[in-house]
Amino acid sequence: MAAMLRRVSGSALLIVFLICWSFPALWGAVTSFKTERDVLDYPPMSPFHPTLYNYRHILAGPTSIVPNLESSAILTVSTTLITLALAIPAAYALGRLRVPAKRPLGFYVLATQMLPPIGLVIPYFLIFSGAGLLNSYSGLIVVYVSFSLPFAIWLLVSYFEEIPREMEEAALIDRATRLKAMWHVVLPQARGGISVTVVFVFLNAWNEFLFAVVLGGRTVRPVTVAMFDFISLEQTQWGRVSAAALIAMAPVMLLGLLAQKHIVKGLTLGAVKGSGRQ
Amino acid sequence: MRGSGNGLGRVRLQGVGKRFGDYSALEGIDLAVNPGEFFSLLGPSGSGKTTTLRIIAGLEMPEDGAVFLDDAEITRLSPGARDAAMVFQSYALYPHMTVARNIGFPLRMVRTPKAEIDRLVRQAAQRVSIEHLLDRRPGQLSGGQQQRCALARAIVRSPKLFLLDEPLSNLDARLRLQTRTELKQLQRTLGVTAIYVTHDQEEAMTLSDRMAIFMDGRIVQVGTPEEVYGRPASTAVAGFLGSPPMNLIDAVLDGERLEMPGAVLSPPTPIVGFRGPVTIGVRPGDISFVESGFPAVVELAELLGDSMIVDLRLGEVALKARLLQNRHFGEGEPVQIAFDWQRIHFFDPSGARLAVG
């Protein structure tokens, strides 16, 4: 019957989907435990002896990526904190208060989000090289905030808009100042939305490449840049490449796993919110 | 596609059973609906009436039994192939289509020519008085208008069978009454068999030619409104129909005496055919106030405008009586009441009707 056929093809498609999209990561994990000789074994699926050699090398060896992890951590955490400190009040204002010229401001925030990074990297390169800000954390953090902020505001506004209006009104009647109303009453309600935003800002900052490779240098060198170096240096050493990739991506993979529901909610809210706008 | 409504529309269910996992929703359902009948499925929530309707519609498949439409078995047939139209409780209108397209949708699905569709849609809309709304979207209609749109979509295709799942329950009280009458007239005019699910016994009573009472996944009685009201097959049915519900009193029947908690009554003629514990049923309307009868005490009197409901205590038994005129009662006032002994119902301890007289 038609219904059964649909169910079978649905399951088949699910299996194809699962294999196709989970296989690369699983294969990478497996490869990271192979010696360089086993890696080039043909056919690739032959049994092998697992080893931690690659991990030892990329963590403790001369080309250790531990300093890169530190670099990423500094960049990402600073960016996240600063972005949220700026975005939360701004989104609150745009989402709940009567702001003059709200619509054009909203468009402006949206437009800044749509700028292709290459259009920003070039002027930043010129400005920073002139000002000696290349290879500096402060310089790069400013840049990271520049692309995280519009996105964070856009995301948070939709969450703030969802909270019923009466919240502030009740607080104001209870003699709270506007600031206290925001802090004690509205923000706790928006905790979910704030968590989602934190997750996305973190992800985007950790995974950033273009700005880091152009504007960073020897000291400011996040894992994404370190990974890229693998291409020239140790490209054929797949064991190390996989181990490095796994370590480099461990924080975001962990975040993805733990914050699954948040991520799905964030993605879909964008779609739903957009359709509600008109 | 099948016939255009001039088929008979005779529906038969035989031994239908439906289970959801461990839960048995329906058991041993036997039903026969005659062509052109307005047949209600009445019962409290969860009694299986909606499940039965959905099995007739083809939206659910029964585990046991068979469904027949005009002697052809349709048990496993897809909903679209049954020539039955359904009005959903939520109306289920297509939100992105105009009223006209909503109504015309079933015709488009069987490739009716466009000119024909326009004509039939207009006709159906006129029947339910919404021809002025054809270009609106469901979101722009009131609840009553949406309901009519759902109705029009059902009648436009001249099906053999109408299936209605509590179509009036989302309307406000006044609209509900008005629509009820229109619905009955519409069905009479079209002459199509209609199977109607409701939990509102007043609705079922006023609309149906016959009805089936559902309780806990089984049918406990089938009959005309007069039959089920006047001769309920069990205390459950008796308590379900009528507002206020029938007074049910546990008593012991002993020929010339009816022993109730706190009172003993003597019927005018001895009751034969049974001895022992019974439940007697007295409709509130069958209790009258007389000069000399059984002594009772008024506890509360509620004025409804055209009638009154009086809470009485007879011995230790609480009764409700209905009066068709207004009379002033004091709280705690002693009165004398009498029963219409011709219209008292007797049930055995298991709740089944007793034939005594």
Binding site: L13, L14, F17, W21, S22, P24, W27, T31, Y42, P44, L86, P89, Y92, A93, V99, A111, M114, L115, P116, G119, L120, I122, P123, L126, I127, S129, S146, L149, E169, L172, I173, L179, N207, F209, T224, M227, F228, F230, A245, M249, M253, L255, L257, Q260, I263, V264, L267, T268, G270, V272, G274, Q278 | P79, G80, L93, Y94, P95, H96, M109, R153
Partner: protein
């Protein structure tokens, strides 16, 4: 508003208006927001606005200015105002037109593939009750990875001839071993596949949520109305999803236009210029060939394309 100590400590002009018996019975003044609300809003907004203007609008202005300059960090004696020279040069530059063509093909293909495959997956998996959590879990992983890592990864473990998993698979299926990233004929398709692989789960998740939000009773009504599964999809599901799909296209389009890291890691823009989409061309021009002025002009062109297409799509969305 009487400036008593009480009203000042209240600071609730809204509340005061509601309490004052002589005031109109409307809670919010219809003409203009109360002064302190406006002040508060501006205080909250200004830091972000300041940062935004400083870090995005100023650099863009600088970009525009650079695009009409000749800037070469290595040969700074050559620098100077160039007028529209860079743009004229662009018009005659075959490499530019190549990159434009590649951008069109790349962006168009991956967006269409993402939406179509994502929709197909969402429709299929919607029906299943048990597999959904697993599908969602698997979908999260590609999305959270850094594109540069994905590109590198495909370049090494997956697409390497003979030893890569995909190549091995193709050999097993009888399609033969190929140089997926090194062959100019195949390179573009390969990078499109990489981008599609990484971002289809995004479309899948959004569409799955959108499908789940559709009212279910209208599908039963459609079944009663004799609509087959295909027609239910065409007449009901698609029209109701139109708005979400367009938004999805807008989002994926902007990402595809500015996609950099994955291609850069996988092919660097090569072989030759086989995968050199516009922003890669701008990058190479600016940072490999050090023609920053011309690179800026290329970037401005990309910016213009991005803004125009999104504006068109947004307007399309409003009409639906």
């Amino acid at each position: 508003m009487p400036r008593t100590a009480l009203s000042r400590s209240c600071a609730a002009d809204g509340a005061a208006a509601a309490l004052a018996p002589a005031a109109a019975p409307v809670p919010a003044p219809a003409i203009a927001p109360p002064r302190d609300e406006q002040r508060f809003a501006l205080v909250l907004l200004l830091p972000s606005l300041f940062v935004l203007v400083l870090t995005t609008t100023v650099p863009i202005a600088y970009l525009l200015w650079s695009s009409v300059q000749r800037i070469n960090p290595a040969m700074s004696f050559m620098n100077g105002f160039a007028g529209a020279d860079n743009y004229i040069q662009m018009g005659d530059d075959p490499r530019f037109w190549n990159s434009l063509r590649l951008t069109l093909v790349y962006t168009g293909s991956t967006v269409v593939l993402q939406v179509v495959i994502g929709l197909a997956l969402a429709l299929a998996i919607m029906e299943l009750r048990r597999g959904q959590w697993l599908a969602r879990l698997v979908a999260i992983l590609p999305i959270v990875l850094a594109p540069v890592v994905v590109g590198l990864y495909f370049r090494t473990l997956i697409l390497t001839p003979t030893f890569g998993m995909f190549d091995y698979l193709m050999v097993t299926l009888g399609l033969g071993s190929h140089n997926w990233l090194g062959d100019p004929q195949l390179a573009l398709a390969s990078v499109i596949a990489i981008h599609t692989w990484q971002w289809t789960p995004f479309s899948f998740l959004v569409l799955l949520a959108a499908l789940a939000a559709l009212p279910q009773d209208i599908y039963e009504a459609a079944r009663m109305d004799r609509a087959s599964a295909l027609r239910r999809f065409w007449h009901i599901t698609l029209p109701l999803l139109r708005s979400v799909i367009i938004l999805l296209v807008i989002l994926r389009l902007t990402v595809a236009l500015s996609a950099f890291a994955a291609i850069f890691a996988a092919t660097g823009g090569g072989p030759g210029t086989a995968t050199e989409i516009l922003n890669l061309y701008a990058y190479r021009t600016s940072f490999n060939e050090l023609q920053v002025g011309y690179g800026a002009a290329l970037a401005v062109t990309l910016l213009a394309i991005t803004l125009t297409t999104t504006a068109i799509l947004f307007r399309l969305r409003r009409r639906i």
